[in-house]
Amino acid sequence: LKAENERLFAEFSDFCAQHTGDHPEVMSYLASRHQKTNPEYLASVEFRNVLGRCLTRVQARSSKVYVYINEICTVFKAHSQKKKPPLGP
């Protein structure tokens, strides 16, 4: 499952990179978020489902490429290994 998710993420990244040439920093940011994500989550069925859905949709509608990158980034943030402590009052 981990290998399958890595393959899907590579496919998603390759496709998005072709449509974000004006802002290459977005793909660097996505990659850095991916590295900071909990490995257990990266090997989960849940992640495969999210990734599979986003990949299918972005391939069908490349005009929404940033929408799906943003969605994956949000998912990565939610499952980040380094959780920031809650802010005080």
Partner: protein, 35 residues
């Protein structure tokens, strides 16, 4: 074609995509400044 001086070229037709792009770029900027 008209030239918009001083304006960033924005060819995103999809409003949802434009908003997501703006959010991502702001997030990246905030991340860079916090490091």
């Amino acid at each position: 074609a008209p030239v918009h001086m001083g304006e960033e070229e924005d060819d995103d037709d999809d409003p949802e995509n434009r908003i997501a792009k703006k959010m991502l770029l702001e997030e990246i900027k905030a991340n860079l400044s916090s490091e």
